[in-house]
Amino acid sequence: MNERKWRWGFNRWLVLLFIVLGFFAAKKYPPISPHVQLPAERLSHDPLFTLPGIGEFYLTNTLVALFLVDLILLAMAFAIRRQTSKGGLGMLKGVSGALEALFEGLYNMTESTAGKWAKEIFPYFATIMLIVLISNWMELIPGVDSIGFLEKVAEHGYAAQGPFLIKEEVAHGAEGFVVIPWVRVVSTDLNFTFALALISVVMTQVIGIRAQGMAYFTKFWNTSTLFSKPIFGAIDFGVGLLELISEFSKILSFAFRLFGNIFAGSVMLFVLGALVPVFVQSMVLLLEAFVGIIQALVFGMLTMTFMAQATQGHGGHDEAHA
């Protein structure tokens, strides 16, 4: 009785239609291998504003992506606020319900690691995780990284036909075009990841000082056993100095981990899309969705763990050195 009836369905035919359309589109406009550039591309030729001593600020395409991320976060916040203010603290529906479940899990995780400091630490954890998650997942949207201005370059350009680039290398020395995308995933900008890493590490020190007062600095400048136990005291002192170095290397490893993962992912998406235009990229999109959520979790969880360690003071000598 339980045998399943064949249904015609609708979405599966849509997928098939898009695959077939993809074949024809790839025949008509063969994909070109894109122009990869490490720093963010500038969208404006004149700087937005100039700060003395720091330099000129341009409107880059990663900045556009950051504004989009902020808009999405604000929209989510307002949606939840509307629901909670209307019906009190009843059942939340839809996106808000999913977010509630997510936050509950994250808060329990924080509480089991940080104990009574969970209330202080949780906002940093959740904020960093949400912003990194949404900016990572932005690379899954078609059109991000591929729609934009055409700009003339001196070499390695392609010929343009109307709004499209076509797969036709221009003669050597002649002017070609490359695409300057309007939106580029903000995690592929080192400035963004460094800023997040700085926030995370600096606030770790602040929370450590608030938890332990000046005693927090004995972690770095440990002279307590230097005279009572000469040899081990010297070793402890050296370990303290190493802790100081490891704080700086935390910044580097935070910044480069997120940047490297997401930049490599988007380059892989470009290259696979250029090699096999149909179907293969979809598989990699799945992998990238996974990498995106893992990196967001790792960034948030490491921040949370380091902050929890900073509140605990001495005794925990088994902490990891990143």
Binding site: V36, M109, G260, N261, V298
Partner: protein, 78 residues
């Protein structure tokens, strides 16, 4: 044969830089090995073990990511 030797050296250098990913791969494999064994012995601890495994993987992976960043720098910046 055409093209210049600097471009060739860049490509070879980027490839060599990625050898360092070997270490990260071994490290991630070892940590997953340990975590799976731990979960097999004590399935109730799966949640905690997984969280710690992901943290450990993130540390092991950071080294491989440094290699990747060096390779990307060689390819696209210099």
């Amino acid at each position: 044969m055409q093209g210049d030797i600097v471009a060739a050296a860049k490509l070879i250098g980027a490839g060599l830089a990625m050898i360092g990913a070997l270490g990260g791969g071994i490290g991630i494999g070892l940590s997953a090995h340990g975590a799976v064994q731990g979960i097999a012995r004590n399935p109730d601890a799966a949640g905690t073990v997984q969280t710690n495994m992901i943290l450990g993987i993130a540390f092991a992976e950071a080294v491989a990511i440094y290699c990747l960043v060096v390779a990307l720098l060689i390819l696209f910046v210099f």
